[in-house]
Structures are given as C-alpha cells and as structure tokens.
Symmetry: C2
Subunit: 471 residues, 2 copies
C-alpha cells in the first residue's frame, strides 16, 4: 500500500548531488547511498511500502546531527531521524526524499543519577540497553513497548507499554531532552528537577512530535526503585469482556496493578506457537503486582476476587524472576508472533484509546466487526489505559484485502473518537492519521499544530508529511 497522496500532499525534494557530495566527504564510511542501507531505512513495522531516503548518515554526536540539519536547511532538503525502525505508523518514511540521520550509534549512557532516580542517555540507547545498564543499581526504567525501541524514538512517539497503567508513558517519564532544532541550534528542554513551572513545556512539546519539530539527541528519564516483591500471573477467561471488566473494576477500586494486559484466544495461540509457551488458548489476562511482600499479596487477592466475579479461571503464578521474564518476553513478542500467523501478510495495528468505562463496549463492537471480516484480526490491549490493538493481517498483493484492512482500522478509530477517546494511544500519527486529527481536535486545533510547526520549522525540513500537512 502506497502512502496515500490524498492524505498528506507531498513535494519531492530529493537531496541534490552537491549535498550528497558534501555529506559523503564529511562522514566517509558513515555516509551511504547504497541501496540496502536506503531500503532498510525506508521501512518500518507499518503496512506501507518502503519509501527510502536519498542517503543515510550514521551520526555519532549531537554536533554531527546539528551539522547535518544545517546542511539540509541550506539545501531545503528533508531530514528524518531514525532510531530502531520499529515505528508502526510510517514515521521514518522519506515521503519527500531527503537525508535520514541514523542515531543508533549514539548509544552511550551519559549519566546514571541513582540518588535522583534519573538516567540520561543518548537517543540511540534502547530500552533493553538502558535496563541492562541499570542492573545491580536496584532501579529500573518502566516504559516497555513491545519492540526494543530507542529512547529517542520512544520519546518522539510518546510511547508507552505494559507498565504504563502504574508508571505512566513517555509523557510522564521524560524529565528533559537535548534537541537539535530546525536551524541547527542545540537546546536543553529542562534540568533534572521532578517538576517545573518554567514557561512553555518544551519537553512535552517535543515528546510525541515525531521528529517534526526537532531531532532528539539525548533523553533524561525517570527511574523507579525495584519493588521489594514482584509477582506475575496469567488468568484465562471464557470471554474477552470478563478479562477487560476484571481490570477496570480493579483499577476503579484503587488497586495499583503494575501491568494488566489482555490477549484474545487467537493472540494466545500465536504466542504459544512463537514463544513455545503452553498457555490455555482462551482470552487471557497477564498481570503483574509490585510492592512489599504483603501489599503484593493483598493486590493479588483483590484481583482474584474480582476475576472470579467475571468468570476468571484459576490464576497461574510466575513468582521467580526467570518465570516472570519468560512470561513477559512472551507478551512482548506478541507482535512478531502474530505476524507469523500469516507470514506474507502486513499488519494494520489499530491503536484506539478510550476512557476505561467505554473500553469493553469498544472492544465488543470491534470483535463483532472482525467476525464479519475475511481477515485474521487478533486483539490485545493495555486494558488499564483503555488502549487496545486489533492487528489486522492483510496480503499486500491483494488490494481488496488491503482496502478492507484500512476500512476496519478507520472504523475502530472513529469509534474511539465517538467514545471521547483518541485514534492513537501510543503509536502516533505518522502519515495516515492526519485526517483523523481534524476530527479529534477540530480544524482550529489542527491549525494551532500547523502554526507551531511553521514557527519552529519554517522550511518544513523536519520529517515532512507527518502529524500535520503543510503543503
């Protein structure tokens, strides 16, 4: 499926030969116009066709990023930041051509401030790299999207994950950023204090800006002390509704669940096959509790009472760290597992997020709709946040399947908007949700976004064609 021209009008602005020459001389082996490098950087986990940049620069420092931005500004050529390429909304696609700056080699942990519960890392550090660096410190970083994304990419898409219900998303967990602006200046968006009322919230403006307002080169995040006790469990249910309602009622009673993920029977089957687990192939809750020994026991008891009221079967516990790690690895691998259900297909991942009282209804209506679809559509979700994904698998060589998948995606998004929710809880706008933003915020709201973009990136060189349409 091509990026649709009607969605975000684009102007091809390829990097001219003299820009390519200057970049090549400056960056040597860290510059590439090779087909494989370009193809790899023009493809993410979205269902859209590869859209490669004209060249790739592997940056090693913030100064180098600023240098590339200034060169692109001089030539009015797009520049696209690239982390791990795990976006599922086409964020990294070079729809107007231009230069991709790959930040994955900027992967130093700059500072661990254990006493302040913060870490500062270069943008290319991945969430697993950060947690590995924290081993032995008694601290952890909480945001865990399925993929091993980079912290820069996670900040840029306002990512979340399974622990957001307790610890928040990147919105709550980014303390400050170092950013290269469209004119190649380097700014810091804040210090390391836990809170601040110092002017416009630059940090929160860049978090979720998808590379369109600046290029994030360094991220300071909050850390949390490892809880004294952790236990995890899975619990099967006769239907998805029972699993969803169990989480919602538990949260409404104030039980601070650390993780609460629902998978439908098809997702569980995919996980079993991919991760060699032997979970019952029914709608299933994956739960985790953090706290002291006694508070974890209390939380677990409270959830079990609610689960029984909603038809939940027995809890299977994973107490020791290895068993828990296997369980959550299986959950985090659900996306590749589901892709393996139909290896030649591409996935449209819906990302509706609604107030929790509306979640069960939204999921039920989505399930009803998928029953009449010819496509495989497993469902899973971060229930505690009101966020669920329907992963629609379609054959990219079959236009009617691709169209059906897109229609289904559109209906899920519209239902979210009708339910006082959002079309994207954690994946971002990319190219294809631009029209939805006008429904979500109104034309006046989108106009503010467009004016912000024009004020901060007047040449529209920073990842053009994403979030807002400027042409």
């Amino acid at each position: 499926m091509q990026p649709r021209a009607d969605v975000s009008p684009v102007r091809r602005r390829p990097a001219p030969p003299d820009l390519l020459q200057v970049l090549g001389e400056r960056f040597g082996e860290r510059f590439s116009t090779g087909d494989s490098d370009r193809q790899r950087h023009g493809r993410d986990d979205s269902p859209y066709d590869t859209t490669p940049p004209d060249c790739v620069v592997f940056a090693a420092s913030v100064e180098e990023v600023a240098e590339v931005v200034r060169l692109c500004a001089r030539h009015r050529v797009p520049i696209i930041a690239y982390g791990a390429g795990t976006s599922i909304e086409g964020h990294i696609m070079a729809v107007e051509g231009g230069v991709t700056v790959d930040l994955s080699r900027m992967n130093r942990v700059v500072a661990l401030n254990a006493e302040d519960l913060t870490a500062t890392v270069e943008a290319g550090v991945t969430r697993k790299q950060l947690n590995a660096a924290l081993e032995g410190s008694g601290l952890f970083f909480s945001v865990d999207p399925g993929a091993d994304a980079t912290l820069g990419g996670m900040a840029a898409t306002r990512a979340s994950g399974s622990a957001a219900v307790r610890y928040g998303t990147m919105r709550e967990n980014v303390v400050g950023l170092k950013v290269v602006t469209a004119d190649g200046a380097v700014i810091r968006t804040g210090g390391r204090a836990k809170k601040s009322s110092a002017g416009y919230d630059l940090t929160r403006i860049f978090v979720g800006s998808e590379g369109t307002l600046g290029i994030i080169t360094e991220v300071t995040v909050r850390l949390y002390p490892q809880p004294e006790a952790v236990s995890a469990a899975v619990c099967a249910f006769p239907d998805v509704a029972g699993a969803v309602d169990t989480v919602i009622r538990t949260i409404q009673r104030g039980v601070p669940i650390a993780r609460a993920e629902v998978l439908d029977a098809l997702s569980v089957a995919a996980v079993n096959r991919y991760s060699l687990t032997d979970l019952q192939e029914r709608p299933t809750l994956f739960l985790e509790f953090h706290g002291t020994v006694s508070s974890v026991a209390e939380q677990a008891e409270a959830v079990q009472v609610v689960a029984r009221e909603h038809g939940g079967l027995d809890f299977e516990w994973a107490i020791d760290p290895a068993a828990r790690a296997r369980l959550w690895d299986a959950r985090h691998s659900a996306f590749p597992a589901i892709l393996q259900l139909r290896p030649a297909a591409r996935a449209f991942v819906t990302d509706a997020c609604v107030p929790i009282s509306r979640l069960a209804g939204c999921i039920a209506a989505t399930i009803e709709e998928t029953r009449t679809s010819s496509l495989m559509c497993p469902i899973l979700g971060h229930v505690g946040d009101g966020n669920f994904h329907c992963i629609i698998l379609a054959d990219p060589n079959n236009p009617s399947e691709m169209a059906e998948a897109e229609q289904l995606n559109q209906r899920v998004m519209r239902r979210a908007l009708e339910s006082e929710g959002t079309c994207t809880g954690e994946h971002g706008v990319g190219m294809h949700k631009i029209p939805l933003l006008a429904e979500e915020f109104g034309e006046a709201g989108v106009d503010l976004m467009r004016r912000l973009k024009a004020a901060w990136d007047p040449l529209n060189i920073l990842n053009p064609g994403k979030i807002v349409s400027m042409w």
Copy 2:
C-alpha cells in the same frame, strides 16, 4: 515594588472608550470600571504593586469569553484571565492595561465520570469546590496548592501541592482542556482517554502557559479512589537537614509516601500562632500515608526507621479524619500564617526545585544566607519533589529591604539552576523570572517559546508581559 520595566518591556495599550462602551452594553452588571473591582483584579499574592486593568468582565460561559477575546483582538487590547487571584508571581497584573475577564462565576461541575476517574469542571471551580462535589463518590482530586485556587488558574500555572510527590502536579493530572484561542476560536485539546499520541501535546502546551497562549475555560482532571486507609503524622527534628534527608532516603527506597512536607522552626511557630496548634517549634516533617491498612502500617514503619537514623524525635499521629484535616489545614495555612509574622510586609516566595540529591545542599546554603540577612525568612518545602520555598518578608515602604529580598530570591534561583534545577517548581514565571528563563533554557530555547507565542497570539493580546518578552 513596581513591575520592573527592564524585565519585560511593556507598551501601554489601554482599552479605548468605544471598546469599554461595547463591553458595558453587552455585559451590563457583569462589566465594571469601578475602582474597587479594578484594584482587586490588579493585585495577587505577589510582592508587586497593584496594577489594575481598565475594566473587568465577569464571564458566565465559554462563548462570552470568546466574544471578549474577539473584541479585544479587534482593538488590539490585552486580555487577562482571572480566577481566584492567588498567584504569587504577578500573573494577573495588567502591565499594559486592557480587559480582565473574571472566570470565577464559571464554577459548574460539568461532569463527574466516576467510572473513568475523571471530572470536567468550568475553569472557575476551586479545588475545594471540586472536592466538595466529590463527597460520597469515594474519589478525590489530588492537587492542593496552599490557596483555594481555581482549576483554571492551577492549570495555567502548572500548579502542584503537598500530594504531588505521590500523585503528580497539574502536568500529570490534566486530561484535557477547553480553550479560547487568541482569535476567539474554541478548541478542545483532547478527549478523556488516559493517554494519547495524537499529535502535538496541546494539553501540555496550555498547562503552564499562564494565560499567554489561550484562555482555559474548562478543565478535565484525573481523580483517584480514596485509599482504604490514611494516616498522617508529624515528626520534629533537631535540624532541617535531618527532616529533608529522611524524606529523600525514604523515596529512594521506593516507599510511596503520599505527602512529605518540611517546615522550619519559624514556620511552625507561625502556624501554631495562626492555626492554634501546639506543635513543637522545631524543624518538622508533616507526613501522610495512603494505602491498605497493612501497607500504610508498613510505610509508616519504614519512614520511622529512616527518621530515627536522621535524629527524628517521636511521631505524633493523626489517624482520625478530623485530626488529619486539622493538621493539613494548618499546613495549607502556612502562607497566611507566615504573613502574620509581620503583617505590614510583603512576601517574596522563592520557588527553587532541584534534583532531590541536591535539595539538602540548596536548603542548607539558603539557610546560611538567610542567617546573614536582616529579613525574616521562614523556609518550607515539598521535599519529595525537591521543591522548597523561602518566604522572605520585606517592608514595601523600605526600598533597601525590598532590594535585599529580591537579591536573596535571585541567589536562590541561580543556585537552583547551578544544581540542574529550575527557578520555579510550581509558581510559574510571571513577570520577574523572564531573565532567568534565558539562563535555564538558553537563548535558543527562549527563542522557541517566543516563536510559539508569536504564532499563536500574533497581536500579543493574551496576558502580555508574562513568560516571554515580545517587544
């Protein structure tokens, strides 16, 4: 002390007679040019001289606010939003003249969505009004600045309070806003979903924008289930450092304290006199624990162990709700209590916020400095957030006292910046911290703020002279 012209250059833009006439005809008894109304709306809890607007409109709806904004835009006259007037940074001062729109009559609770743990209120609802409306629901709203501020004002200044250490500030607790923009359009910044990746974070851009980017007319906030058990305690210490270190060590161990406030001996004496309490007049921690019965007991035990290591004396407990309410009323009244120490004085309230590992050092250096000052300077703080206030009392008729107070304030702010902190943790920028922002974010960062302001308010009519200097 006059608002200093060197800080934020202003251009007087008084409301012309024809604008006053149109407003008078349109709003009748809800329009005033009377001296007492104008004086009252030109004065907050800052140390600066009254700076009245040319008139006051008491708005009753978002449509009326939009109407006033459009009229002001047509005449290029400033418009200043006013809630409860409890700002301590001069936010509501009409430094260029213009129209103040008083939102205090917009005090309806629009919706209580108990199942979703959200409430939507008009901007003029105060935090106490909201919590009164929540009585019997089993829910509460957590953000509690000392004053009974309006939710609109709290959102506009990114306010926090004693419970932010556990529940976050307005940054984390505003779910969405209704806002009138500079051209009189009405927008919604988001739905009611707990999280969102839908484009630029309009909600977080308006939170903390101090009325300079739009006028907030409706606020949707997060609510929390009342914990099963609550207990509060006070604990005296031989010195402030012991009290501060106790909180920091406790947080670093992951104990989820709900409130942790430190008052120095002078603040406690002021509170005793004002609230008729009989606390020991020593540096004192005010603590509160939320959770189940057993987890509250565990938290309390954990803190007591740490407190003893830091010289803490016995805990005095306030278990029953009435005793707790008395304790926190006393704490929330600390500001008026301190003002009573020297009734003719005005207060310069410093608002440094630093990483918690730097807090003890910053407070110690500040205490050292106040020792050599001729002024009374009680200190209190939201220790868990790294935020403390030194309340410097100076005679407004004594220029050397006022200058000394301002110098002390400046030194506290600079020390915060040197400690990777911020010059304002929760009070905002107003007029007098504008030069500090350039130190905190650099010229390039302030330039982004200025470009945002120019893009969204090209006529500079929204609360001009605050946060950024546009002339």
